[in-house]
């Protein structure tokens, strides 16, 4: 599966991290800050048992309070230094985390703006979102806090071992010997816990899917009396979830006490040996206390150190995904010569753009989709003089969008040429072409913001008068006026607050405002109330006047307006001609037509 959650059983690989090198550069100062102040914190952490040793030996055991206030003051000073170091390193770490993932997100998003539509057509939006939003977060988190954990774990272990060996070599060597054992055990458990977590995450996504389907399919399930089957199967899923979660929890439940056991064994060794030394008078009580503290405390930094490698390894998957996205080449690009004259999408040179008339010619075009293995067009020729209306008809899923995709240069012919005003459209920039195409989608896509923002999406400098004029041209004006705040009404996320018909009209106005020479209309199939539908019909005929247009048509009235009809079946254009020619021919178009006619005929009798 292409989109399956890649599981990385791989080892740590520095090469993967190198791909992120350029993103490190702006944060290098903060990273140094993190490392340095973390070091100070861990020095103080190691000093605390020594401080307590001093208190025990010099004051508690000696039963003396001479100079205690000086020592306490020194303790306070130590705490204040730690406070400062903690504040500085955590701030720096959060800045690195957020800054790093911010830069990655930005780079991904900008790169995605250049990728071809074929990428979007073959990649689910959820997958792209996960790359841009979660993978980048994970990488930022790992880089900032991974460094923190690594610095703290490593320096604490080093300092503590030094301190232990200095305090008592004979006891310290015992404790130091425990450390690699602890690290190995941690890594062993970590591997198992991580694998359980993966199963849990996977099952969790299945459960979410089951809820979704359980609700969307409710009506069908009721009529099939399939509720019990569904419930039983869902119980199987939650059972799987239960077992995986419990398994993971049991591994952790065994791990922590085991690590504490290591601490206890160390303490036992210290007691068994150390107490003897104390009784002999060769060791102070305070030393014993400090050794016990180290024996108990060392478990946490060792755990961090041991985990950091498995976490770094698992983050490699996220890095690889983001890197693959950033390295992906757009399939459709403007040649360097074209960019020199016409500019690119981010910096167009509009002054060099010629006006577009609207003659379109398919010249021996052969085409297959990059992910398909069948040619959907073979040596296809079609001349569309400026001002022609072309209707494309066929069943849902038959491949009616192919021609439109080619005209808009969302895809390019596999071989052959498409000429606009007599010149191969690859000789001019994508933006030049698209600035001249008005495009109305079947399910109109609006952006969150006001109605005004949406209408002027293609021409941000349009005045309110121009916006209103465009709205009037497509009969959207009075519908907009009916909205609570007119042009200032918020359309909601994806335009959710408007009805489908309203969205359609707004997207019409949006397309008209740029006054395009070519118009592409993918007609809605979903039923809209009769009144709005009538408005849309009128808008269509007004908008198309004088423009070259491609209509992916579902309604008879639209089809009948066309100068040329192309009938598509199984991805291929199987019939072409005018309405009456095709009807007379009595082929596939005729069949489609009568089906559509039944529905509309019924409506027209009212």
């Amino acid at each position: 599966m292409q989109y399956a959650d890649e599981t990385s059983g791989k080892r740590f690989d520095a090469g993967v991290w190198k791909t992120m090198l350029r993103f490190f550069v702006p944060h290098r100062k903060e990273l140094v800050k993190v490392a340095f102040f973390m070091l100070i914190c861990s020095v103080i952490d190691v000093m605390i048992p020594l401080y307590q040793k001093h208190i025990i030996d010099k004051f508690i055991f000696a039963r003396s309070s001479g100079g205690i206030w000086f020592v306490i003051a020194a303790g306070v000073a130590l705490m204040l230094v730690q406070l400062a170091a903690t504040v500085i390193f955590t701030r720096a770490a959060i800045r690195v985390e957020m800054g790093f993932s911010r830069d990655l997100k930005k780079a991904c998003f900008e790169h995605l703006q250049t990728l071809s539509l074929s990428y979007y057509n073959t990649t689910p939006v959820g997958y792209i979102i996960a790359r841009v939003m979660s993978d980048t977060d994970k990488i930022g988190l790992m880089i900032a806090w991974g460094l923190v954990d690594f610095m703290w774990g490593l320096s604490y272990v080093l300092f503590a071992v030094t301190a232990m060996l200095t305090l008592s070599f004979r006891l310290g060597i015992w404790l130091a010997a425990m450390i690699p054992v602890m690290a190995v055990v941690t890594a062993w458990f970590q591997k198992r816990i991580l694998s359980c977590n993966r199963t849990v995450r996977h099952t969790n996504s299945l459960i979410t899917g089951a809820f979704n389907e359980g609700i969307l399919g409710a009506r069908t399930s009721k009529t099939l009396v399939a509720e019990d089957i569904n419930i039983e199967e869902f119980g199987g899923l939650t059972g799987q979830m239960y077992r995986a979660s419990v398994r993971g929890a049991v591994w952790s439940a065994a791990y922590t006490p085991l690590m504490l056991m290591f601490g206890a064994v160390s303490v036992a060794v210290i007691m068994a040996r150390g107490l003897g030394y104390v009784a002999e008078g060769v060791m102070a009580f305070g030393t014993l206390s400090a050794m016990i503290s180290y024996a108990i405390n060392i478990f946490e930094p060792v755990q961090h150190l041991s985990n950091i490698f498995s976490e770094a390894t698992s983050t490699q998957v996220n890095i690889e995904r983001v890197d693959a996205l950033l390295k992906r080449e757009p399939e459709i690009t403007d040649s360097p010569e074209v960019v020199r004259v016409y500019g690119d999408s981010f910096a167009p040179k509009r002054e060099n753009w010629e006006p577009l008339r609207g003659d379109i010619c398919f010249d021996d075009v052969t085409f297959k989709y990059p992910d398909g293995d069948e040619y959907v067009l073979e040596h296809f020729d079609l001349g569309v003089p400026a001002g022609t209306r072309v209707a494309i008809v066929g069943e849902t899923g038959a491949g009616k969008s192919t021609l439109v995709n080619l005209v808009c240069r969302f895809y390019e012919p596999t071989s052959g040429r498409i000429l606009i005003d007599g010149r191969d459209y690859r000789d001019r920039s994508q933006l030049w072409l698209r600035s001249n195409i008005g495009y109305v989608l079947q399910s109109p896509h609006l952006f969150s913001g006001t109605v005004r923002d949406n209408i002027r999406y293609g021409r941000p400098d349009a005045s309110d008068e121009e916006i209103i004029e465009a709205a009037k041209l497509v009969s959207a004006h009075h519908i907009i006026e009916k909205l609570p705040e007119g042009l200032d009404s918020d359309v909601g996320e994806g335009g959710d607050r408007l009805s489908t018909g309203e969205k359609q009209l707004v997207s019409f106005a949006r397309a008209v405002l740029t006054d395009p020479r070519i118009f592409v209309l993918d007609e809605a199939t979903s039923s809209i109330d009769t009144e709005t539908e009538l408005l849309i019909q009128r808008a269509v005929s007004r908008v198309l006047a004088g423009r070259t247009s491609f209509l992916i048509a579902h309604r008879l009235s639209t089809i009948k307006m066309a100068d040329l009809i192309l009938a598509v079946r199984d991805g291929k254009i199987i019939e072409r001609g005018t309405h009456s020619e095709l009807l007379r021919k009595g082929g596939y178009y005729r069949q489609l037509y009568s089906m559509q006619y039944e529905i509309e005929a019924f409506r027209s009798i009212d």
């Binding site: 508690i60 306070v76 979007y120 006490p257 007691m271 069949q591």
Partner: protein
């Protein structure tokens, strides 16, 4: 009776729901709590043991610490042990206590995992089965995204509470009680010096995190907006490209992205002060114990061993107390989530009375003065008709004329309200039947059928496992979808939906028809279920069906006259009322709506498309 019904609908307190869900996990929770107590006791014993050993070496008599001395005595250790060969035994005792503690710790965590995960499983199962059994009206009134969100995110929040937070609260309380229960009798002054910090540490984290929650919320919202921009851009990529607005989109995203990062960096500054100050408080507490200890030692009120106990206990309780502040500041979230889940769990589901019928369903279908409204909108007005057993009724009508409602009422997706007439089959009111039983006898093919994201074979079988592959294929042949299924690489094992193939509207309809053919119910309803299939295939499917379904009472809803022309009787619906009724021949004679639609549709077939749309 009335009172009972009302209290049943009363909003329960969210915690009541939690209590109810805990049934089945209570024993495990009890074990978890008991093990926790035992584990904590062992953890507390260790420092005491160290104290005993240290103080014994230091020459403190065992009589000053009777409990620990007795336990040490079990291992054969008395206060003079260090002079004998007791050192190894002392070490072993430490390990033994730690082992017992570790075992209880493991038992605690395992019991907790079993209890909490069991509770969550029951919660998920209940939500799902509740949703399955909700009346169809509920389904039309909700938003899928909202409900899925509740069943996932809110369940996660509840899970976090029952798995982590609830026990953290308990642990902190027990630890503090235990620790100070031992420390105060040991040395009042030092215990007081240590205890003074507990409320400070607790309220400090509680108040800080409570205050910070609005900032967390703002950051979450900013992230949500960032996500929305990304989502809109990716799903609207065609529009962005078509209008050449890549630069604008990139800038918009960058601005929100920077804003979101900035919010978190600010929040990070707050958090870093919080963490730093928390560490400082903890450190100062330790220093206070050191100072108090020194003066107590000078006064002879404390031994070295006791001082070490104070230091150890103190480090054992301070983190749970800090955690307690965090947990309680977040507890509000759990209540909100439980409330939202309660709304689903408390909504009434479809139920059947105990005496609901399961007797064979046969005979004439009779609509007797049936009225139905959806909300305030009347859909059916006083509709009466009869379908004789084994005959076919055709229904013709425009969108909104009420024809689909007739179908839904017949299989009780909607229930007739009292006094709005009655629907009877063989003289028995259908409300008397068990719903599932009725639906097993009244099959319906929906206009927009839903296919499950499973194999085509499972879809044709309608998820039932009681059909053989051969039966499934035969049903698919009758509904003219077999050949197309065979063309997929995995044929009948092809998965439908996002993870598999996408079917066209016509293919979906034919799969749904195959479903109905396979189930072969005594009553069958086709709700415009061939609308996306061309006329010829439609005719062929109907011919094949007629062969198969002899004796079945059939209701066909369509706006295609040819589809209805084979019916024994046709009713024409208009605005919720029956406008015309009769045999197809009679209706053709009569020259009403039926006739006009017939003429229009035939004009196409006669090659006279001149009639025009409007």
């Amino acid at each position: 009776m009335n009172d009972l019904a009302e209290t049943g609908n009363m909003k329960k307190h969210p915690m009541g729901l939690l209590l109810e869900l805990s049934a089945g996990s209570r024993g495990l929770y009890l074990i978890a709590c008991a093990s926790l107590l035992a584990a904590i006791a062992c953890n507390f014993l260790l420092p005491q043991l160290i104290r005993f050993l240290v103080d014994s070496v230091n020459g403190v008599p065992a009589s000053k610490m009777p409990v620990v001395a007795r336990i040490a005595g079990l291992a054969g250790l008395d206060s003079g042990f260090a002079r004998g060969g007791g050192l190894t035994r002392a070490g072993l005792l430490v390990v033994a206590v730690a082992c017992v503690g570790g075992a209880f710790n493991f038992a605690h965590r395992k019991a907790l995992a079993l209890g909490a995960e069991g509770l969550v499983k029951r919660l998920r199962d209940r939500l799902y089965s509740r949703i399955q059994r909700m009346p169809f009206e509920w389904h039309t009134s909700i938003q899928t995204g909202d409900i899925v969100q509740r069943c996932t995110s809110d369940v996660d929040i509840v899970r976090n509470f029952v798995f982590n937070q609830a026990i953290e609260i308990g642990r902190a309380v027990v630890l503090v009680t235990f620790a100070y229960g031992i420390l105060f009798p040991m040395n009042f002054v030092m215990a007081a010096a240590s205890f003074a910090f507990i409320p400070v540490v607790f309220f400090y984290s509680f108040i800080f995190l409570k205050k910070a929650s609005s900032h967390f919320l703002a950051a979450d919202e900013a992230e949500g907006q960032l996500l929305a921009i990304a989502q809109e851009n990716f799903s609207g990529v065609r529009v962005v490209r078509a209008f050449g607005r890549e630069r604008y989109e990139a800038d918009r995203f960058a601005a929100q992205n920077a804003y979101f990062a900035e919010l978190w960096m600010k929040l990070g500054s707050m958090l870093s002060s919080y963490w730093g100050a928390g560490d400082l408080l903890t450190g100062i507490q330790m220093l206070a114990i050191c100072a108090a200890g020194t003066f107590q030692a000078v006064a002879g009120g404390i031994t070295v061993g006791e001082f070490m106990v104070f230091l150890t206990y103190n480090s054992m309780i301070i983190w749970p107390v800090r955690g307690l502040g965090r947990v309680l500041s977040e507890a509000g979230k759990t209540l909100v989530s439980l409330g939202r889940l309660g709304e689903i769990l408390d909504a009434p589901v479809e139920t059947d009375p105990d005496d609901a019928l399961e007797t064979p369903i046969s005979g004439d279908i009779e609509f007797d003065r049936v009225s139905f409204s959806y909300g305030d909108v009347p859909i059916l007005k006083n509709v009466s008709f009869t379908v004789r057993e084994g005959t076919t009724l055709g229904i013709l009508g425009d969108t909104g004329s009420g024809k689909t409602t007739i179908a839904y009422l017949l299989c009780r997706l909607y229930d007739l309200r009292e006094g709005d007439g009655a629907i009877r089959i063989g003289g028995v009111d259908i409300r008397g039947y068990k719903r599932a039983f009725l639906r097993e006898n009244v099959g319906i093919v929906l206009q927009e059928p839903f296919l499950y994201s499973r194999t085509l074979a499972e879809n044709v079988a309608g998820l039932s496992k009681s059909f053989s592959g051969e039966h499934i294929r035969e049903a698919a042949r009758i509904s003219h979808v077999d050949a197309e299924i065979e063309r997929f690489a995995n044929a009948y094992d092809t998965i439908v939906g996002e993870r598999g193939v996408t079917l066209s509207g016509g293919q979906k309809q034919r799969v749904a028809i195959a479903r109905a053919v396979l189930r072969m119910t005594p009553i069958m309803i086709f709700d415009d279920s061939l609308s996306a299939v061309d006329t010829e295939t439609d005719a062929r499917i109907r011919a094949a069906l007629r062969e198969r379904v002899r004796g079945v009472t059939t209701v066909i809803i369509s706006h295609r006259i040819t589809t209805l022309s084979g019916a024994d009787r046709v009713i024409v619906m208009e605005n919720g009322e029956i406008a015309e009724t009769g045999t197809p021949a009679e209706l053709t004679e009569r020259g009403g709506i039926y006739r006009r639609v017939l003429d229009l549709q035939q004009s196409v077939d006669d090659g006279l498309p001149a009639v025009g749309g409007r």
